[in-house]
């Protein structure tokens, strides 16, 4: 799941400071806002893991509800309160404070991600079966035709195709075809490769 950091703090010096610290370790998109109200312009966010750093002075039951209403429906949401002093922090919640050193802030966020990390699909090479399916896709066959040729169900073909796209980072059929030709998954001696792309 793609991640986004949203930093909400009334003071620019804090917003930009936290941004500068985090972007050294995390290469996600950042959104910097001076109030919870400004979040309204971001209500279109979907399917993301959102980490909201919220200034403790803005942190109330009310604002939390507001943030949840705007973002939690279509996203995974984690709010991290930002205190001005570590004395205010409670050991029972994930939080950061402005008197912590930068590495401690980075550590807190890393720990949060490790906790949430889903089982990663291995990005290793394609399986033999996936190569078979990919070759058929490159030759221009439909899912139904591929299923018939390989004696598998359409459902299995679709699931192979999804895995292929995820593993390779190539989505379009013509892109997959280029990959198949580059890796000699299809015999192009008797076919003009250009006619397949």
């Amino acid at each position: 799941m793609d991640k986004r950091f949203i930093i909400i703090h009334p003071h620019e010096i804090i917003r930009k400071g936290l941004w500068a610290i985090l972007r050294e370790s995390f290469h996600f998109e950042f959104v910097l806002l001076n109030s919870v109200e400004a979040l309204k312009d971001y209500s279109g966010l979907k399917n993301l893991f959102l980490v909201v750093f919220l200034a403790s002075e803005l942190d109330s039951k009310n604002t939390k509800t507001q943030i949840h209403e705007l973002l939690a429906l279509d996203n995974t949401l984690q709010i991290i309160p930002m205190y001005s002093s570590s004395l205010e922090c409670s050991p029972h919640e994930i939080s950061i404070s402005q008197d912590e050193p930068a590495f401690a802030i980075t550590e807190t966020v890393k720990k949060l991600f490790n906790k949430q990390k889903p089982v990663q699909k291995s990005m290793s090479d394609l399986s033999e079966r996936e190569k078979d399916v990919l070759a058929q896709v490159a030759l221009g066959f439909t899912n139904k035709e591929i299923a018939d040729k390989l004696f598998i169900s359409i459902h299995t073909v679709i699931s192979h195709r999804k895995n292929i796209t995820e593993k390779l980072g190539i989505k379009s059929i013509s892109g997959l075809t280029v990959y198949a030709i580059l890796n000699k998954l299809i015999d192009t001696e008797n076919i003009d490769p250009a006619s397949l792309i």
């Binding site: 998109e29 980072g169 379009s172 892109g175």
Partner: protein, 239 residues
């Protein structure tokens, strides 16, 4: 990133995001800003500064989406901007990318069949994208202009559009975006580097810039223009 605001200097915009250069050119804004702010330049050039800010902010931050504000603009403004974007693709981007790609091809040492595949992929992609852009120019935009005309005058829709609705156009944007991403990724991950590195980098820079432009272009159409048109359709055709 923080949003750009009307009192930001235009020079600051470009220092923060140089990809914006062709975007501001589409508004007729050219280099040599001195210390002028967005508001000043917009007044000089007679540009709606809210519209300008919405465009550059969505371009810079893909999550930024001030829908209520953006929906206030007339579709004519958006179409004018989109047409200029199309012209940029045809007059500058395609020739430039082909020029760069040819240089990479010419620098190839040894077996160049693989690199030729990239060329084929690009050529077919260009045909597809051109078709998509022409469909917008020849059918979608005239339809929207006729529709907004009807809204203003209370007249009837012209005969040629009697069965046309904005949702009936082909939803090709995702495919068009995907292919440019694939092109990039195949070069980065899977192609053996038997060409001049600097020439290939120059080609890739152009593709990165274009992908950004295209995704933004699609976002403006799908998220701003289309909902706006659907709204007008309700008023004009069912109201």
């Amino acid at each position: 990133m923080d949003h750009f605001k009307a009192d930001d200097k235009v020079a600051k915009l470009i220092h923060a995001n140089h990809y914006l250069l062709p975007v501001i050119n589409r508004f007729g804004i050219r280099l040599g800003f001195k210390d002028k702010t967005v508001a000043q330049v917009c007044t000089e050039k007679n540009i709606d500064s809210n519209f300008f800010l919405a465009i550059i902010n969505t371009y810079t931050n893909e999550d930024y989406f001030p829908e209520q504000d953006l929906l206030k603009f007339s579709p004519e403004l958006l179409i004018d901007y989109l047409r200029k974007t199309h012209r940029y693709y045809f007059e500058y981007f395609f020739p430039e990318v082909e020029h760069r790609l040819n240089k990479v091809l010419n620098s190839c040492q040894g077996n160049c069949g693989d690199l030729q595949l990239i060329n084929t992929f690009y050529q077919k992609y260009k045909v597809e994208l051109t078709k998509h852009l022409e469909e917008e120019e020849n059918r979608v935009f005239p339809y929207i202009l006729a529709l907004t005309g009807c809204l203003r005058t209370g007249g009837q829709m012209p005969e040629q559009f009697s069965n046309y609705y904005i949702q009936s156009r082909e939803p090709e944007h995702t495919m068009v975006d995907q292919k440019i991403y694939d092109l990039k990724n195949i070069l980065i991950k899977y192609l053996e580097a038997n060409y001049d590195d600097n020439l290939c980098n120059t080609f890739l820079f152009a593709i990165f810039q274009f992908e950004r432009d295209l995704v933004d272009h699609a976002r403006i159409e799908d998220k701003i223009l289309v909902p706006k048109v659907v709204e007008i359709e309700k008023m004009v055709r069912h109201g």
